[in-house]
Symmetry: C3
Subunit: 265 residues, 3 copies
C-alpha cells in the first residue's frame, strides 16, 4: 500500500525544494511538460544539445528522457545525458515512447536501458515490447506476451533492467520486479489529450529528485497525477480543451493532504 | 453540394475507426494538431525521423506533411514518408506552408507534389504560388495570377498535379480541377490563432483515412472544421486564448447530425 | 518616465501595421509566442532554416532570436539571420536564454551580441552573466557581480554592446547604458508559467518593428506585457492553466488607452 505520509512529504518537498529537472522530450510535449513541472513547484529545463549535456545534467537534480520525436542529433543528446546522469549519480527517468512501433525506437530504448535508468515509465504496449526485447535477450523468456500478462512483463523488465517500472493505463502499476503497487485513479479523458504520459514522466523526474527511493517517487508521482486528472475530469464535461486547462489548474493548486485521501489502489 | 449523409458518415467513421494518422508537421503546430486529431476521435503519431518513415507509414492509415519548419533532416523525413505513402498506397495530405515566401519552400513543395499527394491543403497565396510554379512548368500557363483568379489557380493546380486542392480562406474551396465546392462557415478569429490551418490539414488526414474518395474527405473535414470554429467563436467574445480552448472543446464534443445542419455553402 | 502617448501609439501601430515578425525561438515557446504575436496584432513567422534566412529576414519587419533550444542547425540559422538583419537594417531582439548555464550558451550569446542586436532581452541572471563576459572582455570590469548590482550590470552591458538592454524580473529595467526606466507591473504567477519571457521577446520584436526608437519599443512592449499579466492574474485564482489562457485573452482584447493608466513605474 502507498504511504499517505510519504505521499504528502514528497509533494511538499517538490514545492519547497523546487528541483531543477532537465528534460529531453519530444516537441509535442515540451510546452505542456514544462508547465506541468512549474505547476507542481519544480523548475524545468529543456535541452538536448549534445555539447552542453554534461554541464546541464551536472547542475540538475534529475533528468528525464522521452524518445518521442527521434532525430540523430537528439539521440546523441540523449545518450550523452544518460551517461552524464550515471557519472554524476543523478536519478533519471526513461519514457520509451512508441517502443515497438519501429526498429529505431526499440533500439534506442534498449540502448538507453543499458545505461541504467532509475525509472522506466511507459504504457502497457511499450513495456510489453521492451520486456520482450530485453528479457528475451538476457534471460530467454518468450517475447510474445498476451496483454493480460503485462504486469508480469513489467516485473520481468524491472528485474532484467534493475530499474523501477512505472506503467500507465486504466490501472497504473509500479514495480521493482518483486513488489507491485497499483493505482486506480485517473479518467478515460486523459487518453484523449496528448502528452499526458510524457508530462507524467517529467513530473516523475521531479519526485525522483526529492525522494531517494525511486519506487516511492514513481508511486507518489503517479498517485498525484491520477488524482488531479480525476478532479479535472469532473470539471470539463468531456471537453478536451477545457480538460487540458483544468488539469494544469489542479496541478498548480492541489492540497497534498486533502488529495492523499482520494488515492484509490 | 455537400452530401449531408456522407458528411455524417465520415465524422462517425473517424470516431469508430480511430485511424492512426502519421503527421510530419512543424514545431508550432505539433501539440495543437495532435490534440485536434484526438479530439475528433483519431489517433495521432508525430515523427519525421527518416530511418523509421517506411515502417511508420506502413502502419498508419494516412499521412500528412506540413513543411512549416524546414530543416534538412526533416526534409529527408518528408521525402521518405511521401515515397512510403506511394509504396503502401496510403492517402496523404500536403500543406505547403509559406510556399512562395522563400525559394526553399517553393522547391520542397514542388518536390513533394511530384510525389503525388492525395490532397494539397493550403491558403490562397500558397495555392496561387504553386499553381504558378507547377502549372507554368507543366503547361505554360501564365504564373502571375491575380488574387481573384485564385479559384482558377486552384483548379489548374488540381489538374496539373492530379491532387484534390483544398484551399482555406474566408470561403474555403475544394476542387479536383473540374468540380468546385465552396464552404462559408468559420469566423475571422480563426486567422488570429496560430496553427488553425496546420491542424485542419491533420484532421483532413483523418477524414482521408476513412473515406476513399479524397474529394469528399477534404470537403467534409473542412465543413466540420468551419462549423466547429464558428460555434467556438460565439463562446469567446473575441478573446483568442479562450477561442483556442473552446474550439478544441467543440471538436471533442460535436454532434455530426446537428452540425450537418449548420453547414453553409 | 514612460510617455503614455507614445505607449498608446506603439500599441495601435502594432495593430494597424500588423508587422511580420520573424522568430527563431525554442520549441517550448513557438506556439505560445506565435499566438502572443497574433493576439497583439502582429504577424508571426517561425523558421530557423539556414538556407532561407536571408530571404525571410528581407521580407520581415523585425527579427527575434531566442537561444532556448540549441542545436547546430539552429545555431547556423541564428547566425545567418542575425547577419541578414544587419545587412537589411532590420531591428532584431536577442533573448540569451540560459546564458551562464553552459559554456555553449554563453558562447553563442556572445557571438550573437557581436552581431549587434538592437535589443537584448533577458532575465537578471542572464544579463549579469553576459555583462560579466562581454564587459570584462572589452573593458576589464570585474565579472563577479552581486545580484543587487544587476542594474549596473545591465547598464554596463548596454554600453559595451551598443544594444538596449531589457531585463525582466519582479521589476523590469530598460536601459541604454545611461537612461534607466523601471516597470513594476506584472504578477508572481508569470514566473510559474513557461515561455512568458520568450513570448515577451517576440512581442518586443513587434514593437521594435513599428517604433524606430528601440528604447521606447522595449519599454512600451514590457509595459503592455506587465499590465496584461497583472490583469490576467486577477482572473485565475492562482491556477496556472487558466492564467495562460486569460493572459492570451488580455493580449488579444486590451484597450491601449485604458491600460496606459495602469502602468506603474
Amino acid at each position: 500500500m502507498i504511504s499517505t505520509e510519504k505521499f504528502i512529504q514528497d509533494c511538499l518537498l517538490v514545492r519547497s525544494q523546487s528541483p531543477l529537472v532537465h528534460n529531453i522530450t519530444n516537441y509535442v510535449a515540451m510546452n505542456y511538460a514544462a508547465n506541468a513541472l512549474l505547476a507542481v513547484g519544480a523548475s524545468p529545463l529543456m535541452s538536448f544539445y549534445e555539447k552542453e549535456m554534461d554541464e546541464i545534467v551536472s547542475i540538475a537534480s534529475a533528468l528525464t528522457i522521452n524518445i518521442g520525436c527521434l532525430d540523430d542529433n537528439e539521440i546523441a543528446g540523449m545518450m550523452a545525458a544518460a551517461k552524464a546522469a550515471g557519472k554524476y549519480g543523478k536519478p533519471w527517468v526513461l519514457d520509451p515512447v512508441g517502443a515497438g512501433a519501429s526498429k529505431a525506437r526499440t533500439q534506442i530504448s534498449q540502448d538507453l536501458i543499458a545505461l541504467k535508468p532509475t525509472i522506466i515509465r511507459g504504457n502497457a504496449s511499450e513495456i510489453a515490447c521492451l520486456a520482450g526485447a530485453i528479457v528475451e535477450k538476457s534471460r530467454g523468456v518468450d517475447s510474445s506476451m498476451a496483454s493480460d500478462d503485462v504486469v508480469e512483463a513489467a516485473k520481468a523488465l524491472a528485474k532484467a533492467s534493475g530499474s523501477i517500472v512505472s506503467m500507465s493505463g486504466a490501472t497504473d502499476y509500479i514495480t521493482d520486479g518483486e513488489r507491485v503497487e497499483s493505482l486506480k485513479n485517473g479518467d478515460p479523458i486523459m487518453s484523449r489529450v496528448t502528452v499526458m504520459g510524457c508530462s507524467a514522466t517529467a513530473v516523475t523526474g521531479a519526485f525522483a529528485a526529492v525522494d531517494s527511493d525511486p519506487f516511492d517517487a514513481a508511486l507518489n508521482a503517479m498517485a498525484m497525477w491520477g488524482v488531479e486528472g480525476e478532479k479535472a475530469a469532473k470539471l470539463c464535461g468531456g471537453a478536451t480543451g477545457t480538460f487540458a486547462v483544468k488539469f494544469m489548474d489542479m496541478l498548480s493548486t492541489y492540497d497534498p493532504k486533502e488529495d492523499a485521501l482520494l488515492i484509490r489502489q
